[in-house]
């Protein structure tokens, strides 16, 4: 199937918000926040969109059928790194290399920016994704090195900040 991969722009936020809402099974993701946080002078993230030609559009008329969100991070061991926050392809378009093409684009952009590491997280029950990523040459840092992701938010964060 013919498809194209390109950098996301402000007009894509509506479709990115749509796909985030579906993929994360959450209440509607805010398009306005995406526009403000991703497309202002100092963006907090960058996006890539996968698009198909009109003749392959979905029943609802969508041609933007996949996306990846990423941002630059820093490894105290290796220096510049890139983190892929989201990678998603609509179910009816999977199995055609689109996910791999999106990830490949993030890797290319990361390397061009001087990064030598690409990180992301995967849920342990998501066997098909785990197998796919392992087949592409990455390794499971949590399983191999025992590294756990921890977070402090909401009341716990406020409590920590108190004098």
């Amino acid at each position: 199937m013919d498809f194209s991969i390109r950098a996301a722009n402000l007009d894509d936020c509506k479709d990115i918000a749509r796909m985030i809402t579906v993929s994360r099974h959450v209440c509607a993701c805010s398009r306005a926040h995406l526009e403000q946080d991703g497309f202002s002078k100092n963006p907090f993230f960058h996006g890539i969109i996968a698009e198909v030609p009109e003749q392959h559009r979905t029943k609802e008329g969508h041609t933007k059928i996949g996306y990846a969100l990423y941002f630059y991070t820093y490894s105290s061991w290796k220096g510049r790194a890139v983190y892929m926050e989201d990678l998603y392809v609509m179910p009816e378009f999977r199995g055609k290399g689109i996910g791999k093409a999106l990830m490949s684009k993030v890797a290319q952009l990361g390397l061009a920016a001087g990064c030598n590491q690409l990180d992301f997280t995967v849920l342990e029950w998501n066997k098909s994704s785990l197998d796919f990523y392992l087949s592409q040459g990455c390794f499971d840092v949590t399983a191999d090195l025992g590294y756990h992701c921890m977070r402090c938010e909401g009341e716990a964060l406020q409590h920590l900040a108190q004098p």
Binding site: I16, I20, V26, C29, D37, F44, F45, L69, F71, Y72, T73, Y74, S76, W77, K78, G79, R80, E85, G97, K100, A101, M103, S104, A107, G110, L111, C115, Q117, L118, D119, F120, T121, V122, L123, E124, W125, Y133, Q136, G137, C138, F139, D140, V141, T142, L145, G146, Y147, H148, C149, M150, R151, C152, E153, G154, E155, A156, L157, L160, A161, Q162
Partner: protein
């Protein structure tokens, strides 16, 4: 114990690298540190810093001696499209002989304060599962282990596999 917390400056890169290596050694990963002072300088103190550091400093032992950097935190900002900005704590370390004086707690308090002021939804970090003292330290302060609680696993492409991924073509 008297100490001072301050933002890192370009002159601090050798101390930052020293403490990065000390923390890596504590994790039995010293051989993994490839970062150089030159990279720390370019990446932390250019037009667009890729990381930030808070340093903990004590007075020199002899009069006339320079202050000594004895602890640090390296952090940067990340993004979750559903909840917003997060502060990611990359490294956090106080030299062994200076622990137990509240320096680590004070660094974490300053970071939390900064996270709130910069409208971050949370503060996140990676901890090795066998690092019990650190896990207890964080859990006592309300942190949640997302790997255990929600099943999140960190995956990584290192340099060689990253090149292969970048070079792969559409099927």
């Amino acid at each position: 114990m008297e100490y001072k917390l301050r933002k890192a400056e370009p002159k601090d890169v050798s101390d930052i690298l020293r403490l990065v290596k000390e923390l890596a050694k504590y994790e039995a990963m010293e051989h993994q540190v490839a970062l150089t002072e030159k990279e720390l300088l370019e990446d932390g103190f250019g037009d667009t810093p890729l990381y930030h550091c808070i340093l903990a400093e004590v007075q020199g032992e002899q009069s006339g001696e320079d202050p000594k950097v004895i602890g640090f935190a390296m952090y940067y900002f990340t993004y979750d499209p559903w909840s917003g900005k997060q502060l990611h704590l990359e490294d956090f370390f106080v030299m062994e002989e200076y622990r137990g004086h509240g320096i680590g707690s004070e660094i974490l308090k300053q970071l939390s304060d900064l996270a709130m002021k910069t409208r971050c939804h949370g503060m996140q970090f990676i901890v090795a599962e066998d690092n019990e003292p650190s896990i207890s330290f964080y859990k006592r302060r309300g942190a949640e282990d997302l790997s255990t609680a929600e099943g999140w696993r960190l995956f990584r492409f290192t340099e060689n596999s990253l090149y292969k991924m970048a070079a792969s073509t559409e099927e």
